[in-house]
Structure formats: C-alpha cells, structure tokens
C-alpha cells in the first residue's frame, strides 16, 4: 500500500527578480514500511521537496503545483492549520542539525512531551511516562534521568535520538529524515541510521531519507531518487541503481561517494631508491611528534587531558591521517603541531628542527613552513576582505614581493585551485562552501609551505565537492611535494587521501600504520568500529 504519493510537485522561491522555480515536477511514491532516499547535492531541491510535503517551506517558498497524497488523502493545497493536524500523527520530521533543533532552556522531557500535548494528550503523568518510554525506545540509557536534563548535557548523537523520539511519538506512518546524520561523527551516524532502520522494520514506519551521500542512501534505502537541479534524473531499486546507473550524474555521485572508493594510496618507495637528495637528507620525516601531552583546565573539575602521550612521524611528501571521533584529541594534536597551542610535555620536530619551545619572531618564521586549513570555510575567511587580498595576506605579512607581484601570485594561486578569475574581487559571502575551501587552500599555499595541516578540511562539504577538493589536494601534493597532516573522523575520506594513519581515541593513539594494512587488518577494536561505520562498504576486514 502506498503511504505517500507525490505527483509533479513544483516549488518556487521569491527572489529579487521575481519567483524562481527550484523544484520542477518531482514525482515519487513510498510504500508502507519502505525507505526511500532523496539523493542530491546542496541546491538540488531535495530538502525543499521534503519540507514542501509538510508545508514547512521557509518564507518566500510556495508550492506552485502538483499533488501530494498521504494514503487516500489528498493534502496538496491544505492550509497551514489543516496541515498541523498531519504533522506528528501522520508524518514525523527528523531535522538536520540536532544542536540547533532543540530548545536549550527546556528539558528533554518537556520537548518530547510537547508533541503529545499539542495533539491532545491531557494527562501530565501519562505524557511523562510515554516520553520515558520513547526515549528508551530510541536507545537512550537511563531515560528517567534524561527527561530532566537539558540539551547541552547530551551529546550530538543523543540529541538526534531525542529528536527521533519526538518524531515517532504519535506513531506516524511516515518519517521524513532531512540529512539526519550529516552533523554527526561516522560511528554515531551509523548508530542513528541503525535506529531508523530498526524502527522501520519493527513498526512498519515508512522513511523518506534526504541525504547528499549516495553511500548512506544505498545502505539504508530500498529505493533511490536522484535529484539534480530540482529534477529527478534517476530512480529505482537501490541495488539496481548502484549496479547499473543509467544517468551520468548518478555515475558522478557514485564515483564521488567516499564509501565506494577502491584502491589505496601506497607510500612511495623509500627515498634511497628514487631520490638522491632524499638520501642526502638524513631525516626523511617532515613531522616528528614525540610524547605530546596537552591538558586543559576545566572549571570545577580536574584538568582534562585532551592529548596523552601522542607520538607519530610523517614522511616528507606523504599524507598522514589522524582519525577519531569528536573529543578524541585529534584537533588539539593538529593545533599542537602548528603551535597554536603549547604542549605540556613532549617534543615536535619539523624537518629535524625542534620547534616545541619557539615563540615570538621564530614562531612567526615557522608559519612560513607549516600552514593550517580549517574545517569551517564559513568562519576561517574574513567576511570583509576581497578574495585576492585574503590569498595574498601571508605574502604581505612576510613582505614577499611588491604589491603588484603579490597580486599576480594571488591570482595565479586562485587559478591553480581551479577558481574562476572573477572571484578575485568578490568577498567570501558571495562564494559557496567548496569555493571558500579552495580559497583557504590557496591562502595556505601562498608562501610555499612544506607542510599543510588539514583540520577536517572537507568534512563540512557535500560529497561531490569533497571529491573535487581531495583531487585538488592530491594533485597539489604530487606537484609541490607537500606533506599533509590530515585530520578527519571519516575513514572513507582518509582512505582516499592518506598514505599512513593514526587512529586516536580519548587522547591516545590506539593504532597506526599504512592505510591499506589498517583497512585490511585492523588490530584494535575501535578501528574495526570506525571501519564498520563507513557506509556502503563492500570489502570486509580480513
């Protein structure tokens, strides 16, 4: 039986030049107990489609035409008031960002109970009991305690579970999950998706999963609908689409999804076999970190040891990845290596030179050799500066060249990172996320550093953009002989770029080695867990 049927849905937004249609006639059906995935990159209209079903379009959005049938009921053109009766009892929504989707000043219990209260459950006690039952259902430990806690006391994964709990509170027939795991770590992502799967199987709830990652979609949904620029380019059974994609765009998505990468980057032959200069250099390692320790003071509690006895070495011209979930100390390690933090113990050598105690002018000189690219391209660029000035800034700081030369170099770098020349005079606000990250990379390369530290540099980006940036990084590495320290929570991405890996957990390195060995023969239990979290993985660890 069909739970939801969408026929020729068209949605438009108001822009300054008039209305612009962003969803052009999308049709699909979801059967009972089925999971259907809407796949596409940002701007493809997938979220708009999902929100239009519930009548939750942002201001300026309007459904222009088409029919939406929920079971036997035609709900297209219903007023907001009428749709309110549908949201909750018939269709549940799991929003994208668990951090901003919960009210920070109300307890978890109150927020789960709200949907019950709004739909006529009058008795306080039974509401509370049902909330506890729901929290237990979504796998939150100690629900009696959790109902009295506030969102900040819960981790990201737990908050997403709370949101799922309120979405299923009235046993809706359909659950719309809008990028439910994009903001979460790979391991947590897997658990949340497992939970959705379980709900679907046990309760027979249909699921509309909106995602940009074809790997996740293929893993979790029976059928796929691939959207591009507001049009369906392909739809069908997941296995069928994956095995024989008919559309060029689907093929592209498939190639870009990190989960479907095959092959590894192997460390090249040791220097003495290929490079005379390498032999002359007695130290083949660009970064040597030994026994790093960093503690932070936490108000009212004992000091928190973020990094505990971490040691690793990175061979010149290769990529080393630090992998772990949030809170594992990988970002702190990156900041120790770039000397934004001072380690409490241990030593860091860059190219054989001990940089642990550098300060003042000598620390500034170190910045010429090691550069950091940040996770969030929306925060790491000054919103008031022109792109060309942002890229030229390191040159200006170190007084390299004349004004005109710096400008020329900046333009050449923008070209090197494949940005069109007209972005030079724009400001960051006018650029997309992927373009901004290219600008950040261009800035990092401006003063010819030997080492670039990439702190979750592709985690905030769509899979297609991610793939392009990784390609860019790889080609820059072989061209300029750069050494990368690559920080990530996602093993699938790591596999694509790095030669060697250290897996971090709670401030310790639990396993390290060549990427290939680690994938084929993980020794530590935590590494296996991370590997299992990679969606759509075909090969199994030996």
């Amino acid at each position: 039986m069909t739970v939801l049927a969408v026929d020729d849905l068209r949605v438009s937004y108001a822009t300054r030049e008039g209305r612009r249609e962003v969803v052009h006639g999308v049709s699909f059906e979801i059967a009972e107990g089925e999971a259907l995935a809407l796949v596409g990159e940002s701007g493809s209209g997938k979220s708009t489609t999902a929100h239009a079903l519930l009548g939750l379009l942002p201001a300026g959005g309007r459904v222009e035409g088409g029919a939406v049938r929920l079971g036997d009921l035609d709900i297209s053109g219903w007023s907001d008031r009428a749709l309110r009766g549908i949201r909750g009892p018939e269709i549940g929504l799991v929003p994208q960002d668990p951090v901003t989707s919960l009210d920070p000043v109300r307890t978890i219990g109150a927020q789960v109970e709200e949907v019950l209260r709004l739909h006529g459950h009058r008795d306080r006690r039974s509401r509370r009991a049902r909330a506890i039952e729901l929290l237990e259902r979504v796998g939150i430990d100690d629900p009696d305690l959790r109902v009295r806690q506030y969102p900040h006391e819960l981790s990201g994964g737990m908050r997403q579970r709370v949101l799922i709990a309120s979405a299923i509170a009235l046993r809706p027939r359909l659950l719309i999950a809008d990028e439910p795991t994009s903001a979460l770590d790979a391991t947590v992502q897997r658990k949340v998706l497992d939970l959705l799967d379980e709900l679907r199987r046990e309760e027979g709830t249909s699921i509309l999963l909106v995602t940009h990652d074809l790997g996740v979609a293929a893993d979790r949904a029976q059928r796929l609908v691939v959207l591009k620029d507001g049009r369906i380019v392909e739809q069908g059974e997941s296995a069928q689409v994956l095995a024989a994609p008919s559309d060029g765009y689907t093929k592209q998505l498939l190639a870009d999804a990190p989960a479907f990468t095959t092959g590894f980057r192997r460390p090249e032959a040791p220097p003495f076999l290929r490079d005379a200069a390498g032999v002359a250099a007695e130290n083949p390692f660009a970064i040597t970190a030994t026994g790093l320790v960093k503690e932070f003071a936490v108000a009212g509690r004992e000091r928190f040891r973020a990094v505990d006895d971490v040691s690793f070495r990175v061979r010149r011209g290769t990529t080393h990845a630090l992998v772990g979930e949030s809170g594992s100390g990988k970002t702190t390690t990156a900041r120790l290596v770039t000397r934004f933090h001072q380690p409490d113990a241990g030593a860091i050598e860059i190219d054989g030179e001990d940089v642990t105690e550098l300060s003042g002018q000598r620390l500034r000189a170190l910045r010429r050799r090691i550069q950091l690219v940040y996770q969030n391209p929306f925060a790491s660029l000054d919103p008031r500066q022109q792109i060309v000035d942002i890229v030229a800034e390191p040159l200006q700081n170190f007084g390299v060249g004349s004004r005109a030369e710096r400008r020329e170099r900046s333009l050449a770098l923008l070209d090197r990172v494949s940005l069109p020349s007209d972005v030079a005079r724009r400001t960051p606000g006018e650029l997309s996320g992927g373009q901004r990250q290219r600008v950040a990379i261009a800035r990092a390369l401006a003063i010819d550093p030997e080492i670039v530290v990439l702190d979750e540099a592709v985690s905030a980006l769509d899979v297609t953009v991610q793939a392009r940036i990784l390609e860019l990084l790889t080609s820059l590495q072989s061209e300029l002989g750069l050494t990368y320290l690559f920080i990530s929570h996602d093993l699938a991405v790591v596999r694509r770029i790095s030669h060697t890996v250290s897996v971090m957990r709670r401030g310790h390195i639990v396993e390290e080695g060549n990427t290939e060995d680690l994938f084929h023969d993980p020794q530590h239990e935590y590494t296996r867990e991370l590997l299992a979290a990679v969606p759509g993985r075909t090969e199994q660890p030996a």
Binding site: Y13, A14, T15, R16, E17, R20, E41, S42, G43, S47, T48, P58, A59, G60, G61, Q96, D97, D178, E179, S182, D229, T338, F340, R364, R367, R368, Q371, L372, Y374, N376, F378, A379, S380, L381, D382, P383, R384, Q385, E393, P394, N397, F398, T427, G429, E430, S432, G433, G434, Q435, A440, R443, A446, I447, A460, L461, D462, T464, V465
Partner: protein
C-alpha cells in the same frame, strides 16, 4: 544584508551552491524590509532637515533670532509665526532653527569624543586582555556607577559653563558605553577562526588588529554612535535647561524649553513645540541607529 541576498540570488547553474541546506534556502527578508521602510525614510528626512537648519538657518527663518518685536509678544502659533512668539516677541520657529547648530554641533562633539576615547579604550582592553583589560574595565565600571547627569554636571563645574564644555561633559559620560561595546566586539572577533588564520599566515599583533579585528568590530559601534547622537542632543538640552549650557540669549533647544516653562499655563507652545522638535530628532536618530544595528547581523 546584501551579502546574504547576493548569495541567495546566485545562479545555481553557474556554480553549484554548496552551503548546507539551511543556508541555500533563498530568503525573502530583503524584499519585505524594502516595503516597510517608510519610517526609516522619514527619520532620515528629519535628521537631514535638522542638519540643514544648522548649516543654513537663514534659508528657513530669515531675520535675527535674538531681536523681537515687543508688540508681538506671546502670540500663539499662526501662519506668520509657525511656533508662535515668546515674551520678547521673538519668532520661536526662527529661534528653534537657529538653535539647531548649537544642539547638533554639541551632540557631534559629544559623540566624537565618546566614540574616539571609548573605542580606543575598548579596543586596547579587548585586544590585549589580561591585567590591562581588568584595569580599564574597572575604570569603566566606576564611570558607569556614577549617574550620567551627575557626571556631566561635575565635569562642567570643573571646565566652566558653555556649549562646548557641556558637549565635552556629555561625551565623557558616553565613553563607558562605547568602551564596553568595543571591548566585547573585539573580544568576539579576536576568537574567530579567521583571526587565528591571520596569525597563522604570519600576521603580527598590530597587523591582525588593524586588518581584521577593528574593521569587523566597528558596525555595532557605528550603530551605538547614531543612538548616542540622539541621547547627546537630549543630554545637552537637559544641561541647557538646567542652565549649565550656553548662556541666554543663545537659542539653544534646552534653554528655549527652560525659558518657556514659566508660561506653560498661558503659552504652551513655548515649551511644547521646541520639545517636540527635540523628540523628533532623537527618535529619528534612534531609528537610524536601529537600522545600522540590524544590518550588522
């Protein structure tokens, strides 16, 4: 602001927008703002008129504001005398127009002083932090603890009476507010990633402060300056009313109201109309300030 609007209207065919879903949703806010801004235009018009009064008072009210015709004393508002006349038969409208230069220039001096001193203090405190921050902010605490009017009066007693001195007194009173806001803005921007990235690019403390921190901290300061402009007009008028500002027969706005208060029962226009002018100018400054503040978000 415009950046968001441009991002929203960017053509996806040219460059696939890769922001997260919430950011890629076009917003209709700029459009609605445009339709409801008549009050903003009115506010700008009021301020522009007041500035014109100050610059070319003769064009609006020809004749000397200081000499009157005793025979025409205490006439109610009429076509010949829009705001009526005072006890000496002077045209009140002319006096208000000619008084604009005193009130506005006073407010300008006050805001400039507060802005300059406060911004510098706040920037130093926010940028350096530590002990310097503590000391400066405790000084600011002391300034904030003294009632504004009392502070202004004490400064005037030290400096002597007069329009300029009253303006300086009011300006000193607003230093604390500017310093506080600037400090918080600098402290916020200083923690942002692009500032750290600037240090990572080899920037020194001074270059980073000049190139990134200050430009990104200033918008709310400009909004506060517009707000303080209105407040300063009010404060200078208050001092004039109390007799601490310009001496008579200067047609300063506060003084006009003070002179009229003895005749409130028989000649209401002597206090009400100059008062309304002050209210209109202050409200307009507030409205403009609100607009600037909104743009910064």
């Amino acid at each position: 602001m415009t950046v968001a609007a441009i991002a929203a209207s960017a053509d996806p065919a040219v460059e696939p927008p890769q922001q997260d879903a919430t950011a890629s949703v076009p917003s209709s806010r700029p459009r609605r703002l445009g339709a409801r801004q008549w009050d903003l235009y009115l506010a700008v018009a009021v301020i522009a008129l007041a500035v014109l009064w100050a610059v070319i008072p003769g064009a609006f009210a020809p004749g000397d504001p200081l000499t009157g015709t005793p025979a025409d004393k205490l006439l109610p508002p009429s076509a010949a005398h829009w705001f009526g006349t005072d006890t000496l038969g002077r045209d009140l409208f002319g006096r208000v127009v000619h008084g604009a230069v005193h009130s506005l220039s006073g407010a300008l001096i006050a805001v400039t002083l507060g802005l300059a001193l406060g911004t510098i203090l706040g920037a130093i405190a926010g940028a350096i932090g530590g002990v310097v921050d503590d000391i400066l902010m405790r000084v600011v605490d002391v300034l904030l603890a003294i009632p504004g009017l009392l502070l202004s009066l004490s400064v005037i007693i030290l400096l002597g009476f007069g329009t300029v001195n009253a303006a300086i007194a009011v300006g000193l009173g607003s230093v604390a507010a500017f310093a506080r806001l600037m400090r918080s803005e600098v402290a916020r921007v200083r923690r942002s990633e692009y500032v750290e990235a600037a240090y990572g690019s080899g920037g020194t403390f001074v270059t980073v402060l000049r190139r990134h921190v200050l430009p990104n901290s200033l918008t709310p300061i400009v909004a506060l300056a517009a707000l303080q402009f209105g407040t300063a007009i009010l404060a200078i008028s208050t001092l004039g009313f109390l007799g601490y500002g310009a001496p008579p027969p200067t047609p300063e706005w506060g003084l006009l109201i003070a002179e009229g208060r003895n005749y409130t029962a028989t000649a209401w226009w002597l206090t009400a109309l100059p008062g309304l002018v002050v209210v209109a100018v202050v409200l307009s400054a507030n409205r403009i300030s609100h607009r600037i503040g909104r743009r910064s978000r």
